[in-house]
């Protein structure tokens, strides 16, 4: 495509609106409308080519209109997802297929049918985010290079109509151009402008680097989005739950047996009712309100002893210990273990008395560890109690067969087996909570009777094991984003051109934001030199608008 030759002799790439060298407007050159200074009038790829399919895609994504539309759709979709709880927040065990209709009526049904109950993980939501990322990348590349070139090779002397068509523009007659220019230069330097001089004309510029703010922040966003998508790669991310009883040692899930964790003790503490700071609030909450202060698992971390022979009961070696609290996870290697839940006073042990019904004497008692029962217990009289069956969480299923619902000893029941000395037969006793039956096959009564004499409970800690290798990316991306955001938001790129034209001093100024602040810088010049206050050309248009309005009304 043809290059455009300006009257100053400079060759501009096709699509340029303002000559890169002298600043003469190349399109609408007869007009006196304000120049569009956004990318310094430089040619952008998206404005230039529109032939191939690639051009079309490029142009689509580089448009701010499209970008804004994508953000708006993401915004609306995201808020829609908060109308009803997402699937992950509905009560555990609830069936989403019925939950939404039951809880939220017809609207809930629609919500579920449209898949909005799992919105943030849906393919189209991810597609939206991907489109957002694409748009950011393409829009930034499209603008970065032309802007970079235009800002790097700025000439001081600008074309007349470039000056005239700046938003801030004024001309003044002065007694002595040289002194005025020199004064202005000093003032601007004092205001930390970089001043360049050429043929007696000045270009004062400040904070050009702020122009790169958006590009830096967009790079940060892209790194963040890439980081977030890495989560879907295997091995990057781990999220496991585990329950550990007091005194129990478990393998840390997800670590393939590299680590074991013991719960030495679980503690729950409550706020002191007599704490005067909170007395009023506690009284207001009424009886029975719980004010938990601390949940803590005193944990010990072990690793298998490397030297011990593999396979045989592995020796564990303590490597670290930590009181895991909410807000204070246990970090080791690449893992972190968090305190997330607890079950208080779960049954741990039960002690049974064994009575010989013939003598009426208690022979002995034995204690069963409900989480890890032994098979046999030898009594003092050398008789042996065998656990025939153990149901940690007993119930009778639909077919009338005794079974257990889980391994958690919430409702433990046993069938004990013992030999009857007289008959040599095995006799059986069923023992559960508030249940005690002779269940032997024969007609005779059992010789031995069992009864629960004691029990012991302990606490169970609910822990979550995490590993997340995406975090460094997120930190880098977030950090770069914030740097770019600050760079672009808290500084503004300002330029002031002062030129001698036809025996006058012309002043024009441009900034990408905060014009009032730019005007204050100019005010310093007009106050101390003979340069008069330039016009803000948008002021006039506004006043014209107003006048027109009044005309219409009157």
């Amino acid at each position: 495509m043809d290059e455009i030759k300006c009257e100053c002799g400079h060759l501009n790439p096709y699509g340029t609106e303002v000559c890169g060298s002298c600043g003469k407007p190349l399109v609408n050159s007869g007009s006196d409308r304000l120049l569009n200074m956004r990318y310094e009038g430089a040619a952008r790829r998206s404005q230039t080519y529109n032939k191939s399919i690639i051009d079309k895609i490029w142009n689509f994504f580089s448009s701010v209109k499209v970008g804004v539309t994508i953000i708006v759709i993401t915004l609306l979709a995201s808020s829609l997802g908060t109308l009803f709880p997402q699937e992950m927040f509905i009560p555990p065990g609830a069936d989403p297929a019925t939950f939404y209709a039951e809880e939220h009526g017809a609207l809930g049904q629609v919500y579920y049918s449209l898949g909005l109950h799992n919105l943030y993980g849906s393919w189209w939501y991810m597609l939206l985010v991907a489109a957002l990322g694409t748009s950011i990348i393409i829009a930034s590349i499209d603008r970065f290079f032309p802007l970079y070139k235009a800002l790097k090779s700025q000439r001081v002397t600008r074309h007349k109509s470039f000056m005239k068509r700046q938003r801030i523009f004024g001309t003044s007659r002065v007694d002595n151009e040289d002194t005025t220019m020199a004064q202005a230069q000093d003032i601007l330097k004092n205001k930390r402008y970089n001043v360049r001089e050429e043929n007696g004309n000045l270009l004062a510029e400040k904070n050009r680097w702020a122009r790169w703010g958006p590009y830096v922040n967009h790079i940060g966003l892209i790194i963040f989005l890439i980081g977030a998508s890495l989560r879907f790669f295997p091995g990057m991310y781990l999220d496991e739950n585990v329950w550990v009883r007091e005194g129990e040692t478990v393998v840390v899930p997800g670590t393939s047996g590299d680590y074991y964790l013991e719960n030495e003790q679980f503690t729950e503490e409550h706020y002191d009712e007599d704490d005067e700071r909170y007395e009023a609030a506690m009284a207001e909450a009424g009886e029975g309100a719980q004010f938990e202060e601390t949940f803590r698992t005193d944990a010990v971390l072990y690793a298998p002893d490397e030297e011990a022979t593999v396979g045989v009961d592995q020796e564990l070696e303590e490597i670290d210990r930590h009181g895991i609290e909410v807000n204070d996870a246990f970090h080791f290697d690449e893992y972190a273990v968090y305190q997330v839940d607890r079950k208080l006073d779960e049954l741990a042990e039960m002690t049974f008395d064994v009575e010989d019904t013939e003598t009426g004497e208690v022979v002995d008692s034995f204690t069963v560890d409900l989480n890890n029962p032994d098979g046999n217990y030898t009594l003092e009289n050398d008789e042996v109690v065998r656990i025939h069956s153990y149901f940690p969480n007993f119930y009778i299923d639909e077919e009338g067969v005794p079974t257990t619902e889980s391994d958690v000893p919430e409702n433990p029941a046993f069938i004990f087996e013992m030999e009857n000395e007289n008959t040599g037969q095995m006799e059986h006793t069923f023992l559960g909570i508030q249940a005690n039956y002779d269940v032997s096959q024969d007609e005779e009564g059992n010789q031995y009777a069992f009864s629960m004499s004691d029990f012991d409970t302990n606490h169970v800690a609910g822990l979550t094991v995490r590993k997340d290798h995406t975090i460094p990316f997120l930190i880098a991306g977030g950090g770069i984003f914030l740097i770019g955001l600050t760079q672009g938001s808290y500084w503004a790129h300002r330029r002031i051109w002062l030129q001698r034209k036809d025996g006058e001093v012309w002043i024009a100024a441009h900034t990408n934001k905060n014009w009032e602040a730019l005007k204050r810088d100019i005010h310093a010049i007009t106050e101390q030199t003979q340069v008069t206050t330039p016009q803000d050309q948008t002021d006039e248009t506004h006043e014209e608008d107003e006048n027109q309005q009044e005309h219409i009304q009157s």
Partner: protein
Amino acid sequence: MEQLSMNLLGAAFFLYLASTIFYAVSVTGRKWRNKQGEVTGNRWGKAGYITAILGVVAALGYFFTRWAVAGHAPVSNMFEYVAFFGITISLAFVIIYGIYRVNVLGLITMPIVMLLIAYGSVFSTEVQPLQPSLQSHWLEIHVITTAIGQGILAVSFGAGLIYLLRTINLKEKGMTKRTFGVEFIMYTLVSVIAFIIVTNAFGAFDYEANFAYINEEGQQAEILYELPPLFGPNEGELLTEDRMEPWLEMPDWIESDDLNTVAWTFGTGLILYALIRLLTRRRVGALLQPLFKNVRPQTVDEVSYRAIAIGFPVFTLGGLVFAMIYAQIAWTRFWGWDPKEVWALVTFLFYAVYLHLRLNRDWHGEPSAWLAVVGFAIIIFNLIFVNLVIAGLHSYA
């Protein structure tokens, strides 16, 4: 100490009131012009600024003494958070007024600050003990930074509102989208006033209606209404004698007492608004309009934009970055699509949209002003509805 702290907040409230009055005088009173004939404000404006600064100092005094008493930053319940949000607006105002010196900005932000403090005081002001997941310095840093960001963003609403009141003709006959929009904002502000009046009125008579109901976990619980129940709780049964029966029963996932409060707010707001219209025979906006006739629209447009440019990074830092750090530490994951988190993201995206639209000059001026209003509405929605009405992990109340 706790009493001292509350007294300081009261003092701040009256300083903000004084500041409002000074600014009102400065806007309606005589003008001082400099040698170029520009209006530079007047001494009343300076008095307004000084009292606003004193107000901020007193309010910070409240904040830090309460912090010392409670042992944690006072941003952990609805009262504390709303009051602090008001304080951050005044802080943001002090900063932005320092840059632009627009007196009318004080005239509009100071009353908003007072409204928020009065609104917050409706909720329980007791110092509360913190449950374990809330005992984190990161939570404090997150909430404080977010509130400051929102406070700065709120100033852009103030400036945007001035822009609208300055440029839209509110005397014309017949309703247009623009006059409706302005009046809707006015109605909302009137509703807040109505709410404060109503709750204080019923509070003065110790109105209470107790209900037994079934909560969202399917358990029997009790709930206390401090306003007559229009919306009753799920399977609610009135326990207090001589109280009206609710008009409608709500499902268990709605915090019915809070919904009831919201209904009261907008209902009485409507009555109050209608009264003003009937008595003055003018739009509420038109009543305020004369105050703004000397404002340069472009200046307030820039103030509104500048507040967003300053507030957006602060909000992002507090509402997303620190929020993620806190969530990672307290809840094991930096992001969990909890409604409160999603709405912080929505706020972020909304202001990103604003900034991109402003790249185009056509969006400067009135469209920007409307967007600033919508942005503030999102922040308030987030604060009130998401906190109160949707019961989530973050709920303060």
